[in-house]
Symmetry: D2
Subunit: 343 residues, 4 copies
């Protein structure tokens, strides 16, 4: 059994990691840290679990580094910077669910996160952990920068047409609708039930920090410097991100051709389901699962791609476990084959 | 008191009209028709009302035409065609909430609704009842084509920049998120609670019938033949439409300039609230009211406008009452000044 | 116009009071206080309002006492104690929405609220402001203790049978289901969207502070010392309380007899709707209105009464305005006749 | 691999059975029937599944009886009567999720279901499939009457005190709150999103068909003829039943004693979690899992027990799989150990 630890495990991504890892046939959770819940039983904080033996502990890096081979980090950005560096230097493998090692450029990081990156050399060693793109590098990586939730849905939806000559690469609009678990578990007035319920709104228009992450990966895929327009929205539901992606065409093409492109691009992927013509992805059809559902539409000169993921699984903890499976040579789908829970 | 009747009043727009008209100081509801609920007390179908005297009756045109001066039609499209014509010929005024008299071209109507328009000459007499655009014509109209819910949010958001030289008029994308009451009250599997709840999905991509309506009015505003891309989405909430509108810039402009344009365009409108810089509209902030909230953002070369309405009020029955107020010279805001109900 | 002020107006009951008072034909809001939002426009905190002139101010008792004749207090209990006393001594009228003046016994207050009542003599002057019970006393009162939300639904449901010889008075069970706005607007982890949504739970079983309030009023109605069992539940919705009330029968009776009793008891009440045989109250059918809907059922030897209210209206701010109307000789229904907003 | 078939598999219990059986290590689904979806791929009806090979077929009893050893019946009551009989005579094992074989008395069945039971002799052979009560008989059974959703939550909550001398056995009140999936998947106006959302209501007060089922099993447990008062409520959520159970005390007892009783009663049960003192069950903490969470409270002379289950798992398909595991000697928890999905 692979010994793994979760650092910063009292939020929703931590709890989802725990849910997946407790069911995983080859991994064993040896420690979960939380500053605010330190000393409490995990079953006291997350009433869905009843494993009575496991307690949250404070994060003492030296001690905890001895308890596991692989570390999942669900720490806030900035804190993650040095924790990754420490564990890496101690010879441990790390899957970092924060944003700290996703951007390859320390300059871009500073611009968007307003703090310097103190471990810039490590950025080059970190692999952007989207398995559908970087499977080979993930296999050998010791630091995985686990992708953001919005980027995952947008990138999987856009990848098959990036670099194609029939699209206008700088026309891309990403209009995303996210459930509320994406906002985290800490109390805050805008995410109180009565504020979110029965409402939909846009937020962080033009300034969301996932923008440079999407741009970096689209640029890598297409070999061009891509800039996008990204608008996130808050939806009154727990889980799920639906991304509606708009791409202007440069040349004429046909819907069947583009659909074929998508089917071929993802035909071997265990977690991407390209839907048949006329089917619409919905977040409910992927809820509780690691799937990404994708459909393609053509409206005059605009390609419209719709993708749906569960933000806590394919958009966070599910991909983290997928990365672990690849890194350690486990079956890629181990612990991840639960069907969506619907309704 | 102005005598009014509601034809086809057992759906959500009918019930909302009733709610507004029962509180209206100058209107009296003398009849409400419904085929499926004929003979039942209105309070048997809509448990929120308790007015015990009013019953649903079957629609007998001759008889009912004597009962009121103004008729609100919440009938299905096609049925509305001839009912409008009959009442018009009988010298009555009509506010038609169906789509039958919105499109000026019988040819375009046939293309999108798959049936001929049998009263094409009347299309010219019908006034598109968006008060912010057509106040003067509404005053003298005898047939009002009450705007669709999606068009209302999209058109109010886009109007101030239509015809301006700094936008690319054929780059417009309308990405709308609607509550479920927009789908009507008749039982259908896709709108059952467990299908809609905890989910978001796109539908009718590229083929929604509100598309030609939006294009017609944008073309009228700009003096150009405008084509748009329109994607509606279904949101797990009762009421509200949030429209995120994307317009490419042709020339450089600045956010303050565009914001000033919006503030000036709507400064005298009682029901349009242009929010201050950095504020985000939400459907909850307009729920139960006749307001349309609008904010403008600029992201590189894309103008992003966000508008929020209550689809049953500003997107249907509220605007219908607003049109009545204008037609009969009542105070424009009569019966419509309820603050949004929040939370 | 009657000048009124709202003290502690940045929560949900404050915002609902504001909504009602802004529409009231005979009242004018001259001040709204809030410590945390002091200096901000009301429209900055409550995005549903757009009245630009009104700002939250800090609560300086001396100054504010000059600004109005009637004061609505939405302050936390304990703080309310002395504020009521100060305003009363300054010759002002007060409607206190906190719990501080509801219990007639300072001893019982201390027992349940764990603090002494420093103004015990004033408790006798305070009138329990449930208009259906205490209309005459409210007319002359200068201090109104506005009822709690759970007690309102329970008391209106139980009142007609209290003191009747066919019930067992100490068998009463109150099982209540409340929307989340009852928990207030301050950020707290248990009321975050993802904690409340898609869940139902009981809380404060046997220890909820509304218990002695219900017992006091039932005892007054029946002339006996009544003890009840009260279980509140949290429901994933914004507004509404449904109370299912169980009363054991001592003697045989018939459903029609009991229904007649209810119809007669409330036949003159503008805000209580006793439903016809077989109809079920729902919170949606009263949402956004000041109504209380009640139905009665008989199952073998148990009487089951179901009542539904909007906790922010009939359960708080609506009743507060109703009390104002009675105190000042306004039409009782002034500003309160909005139909429920449904769906 | 055990070959199993699902008859009547296009509803929510069918889809949940499928979800569980597709993940089960020892069972293989060989057929799923549905009249309305016959010929369609399962993945066309349930978009969460993507197994492309399996199609719905019409129910031809002779043919289908050859396809499996064990049959799960999700048919409407009445239809189930004869299907069970046919399969039983063909030497097959049956787990019937309808109500047709739950009531031991054909007379009581006729009284509540308004039709005769045509296979009354088989009622004696059918075992009431609540594993916590009837494990031994289930092991040898060929017909399992799978318990109803409400009875499961009520019976597990009440069992430990049935037959105890300190309770009044005929004082029991079951106040249950159910998510909407319990109402099934067929389109019906009362279960449309906009009717259920933002509302709570009681229904079928005193006449719900799960009443005699609960009474039968409580009578069996206590050796007395028990009559209960049962009130179901509809909650705006997908899954879950919270039951609040009230039992009057005859003699004094203490909370710790009763809690000890519960802990001991269920200490070996893999799916019943008796919570620690002061903890509240919530439906969210069991959602997507086969657990039943239970807490006990004491308020003066009333014992209050609260139980939470997922109605589609522990209240239907999860227990059906549990019964299969017992019947075939599989590990009892096989395929059922998923942690609750939260949030």
């Amino acid at each position: 059994m692979l010994k793994v630890a979760i650092l910063g495990g009292s939020g929703y991504t931590g709890s989802e990691l725990l849910r997946l890892l407790l069911m995983h046939p080859q991994a064993e959770v040896t420690a979960v840290t939380s500053e605010r819940s330190s000393g409490l039983l995990i079953s006291d904080t997350f009433l869905n679990f009843r494993n009575p033996a496991l307690k949250f502990e404070s994060l003492h890096l030296k001690e905890i580094s001895k308890k596991a081979s692989l570390f999942f980090l669900c720490l806030p950005h900035k804190t993650s910077q040095e924790t990754v560096a420490f564990l890496h230097n101690a010879g441990k493998k790390v899957i970092d669910l924060s944003a700290d090692y996703r951007l390859k450029s320390a300059k871009v990081y500073r611009e968007w996160y307003k703090i310097p990156h103190l471990y810039a050399p490590l950025l080059k060693q970190a692999v952007y952990g989207l398995p559908e793109f970087n499977r080979k590098m993930i296999r050998k990586a010791s630091i995985i920068a686990n992708p953001g939730c919005y980027p995952t849905g947008a990138l999987l939806g856009l990848a098959p047409v990036m670099g194609k000559d029939f699209i206008q690469p700088n026309s891309i609009i990403v209009d995303s609708k996210s459930g509320t678990s994406g906002a985290g578990r800490s109390p805050a007035q805008p995410f109180m039930f009565c504020e979110v319920n029965e409402s939909v709104k846009a937020y962080a228009v033009g300034v969301h920090r996932h923008t440079p992450e999407i741009e970096q990966e689209l640029s890598a895929l297409s070999g061009k410097n891509i800039k996008i327009t990204f608008t996130p929205h808050l939806i009154p539901m727990d889980r799920g991100i639906l991304s509606t992606l708009y791409v202007r065409l440069k040349k004429k093409t046909s819907l069947p051709k583009v659909q074929k492109l998508y089917h071929e691009f993802y035909c071997k992927e265990p977690f991407v389901r390209v839907l048949q013509n006329g089917r619409y992805p919905s977040t409910k059809a992927v809820k509780g699962s690691n799937y990404c559902d994708i459909s393609v539409f053509l409206d005059k000169k605009t390609l419209i791609i719709v993708s749906a993921i569960d933000n806590l699984l394919k958009g966070a903890s599910g991909t983290a476990v997928h990365n672990m499976n690849i890194m350690y040579g486990f079956e890629e789908t181990a612990g991840l084959m639960s069907s969506p829970v619907s309704p």
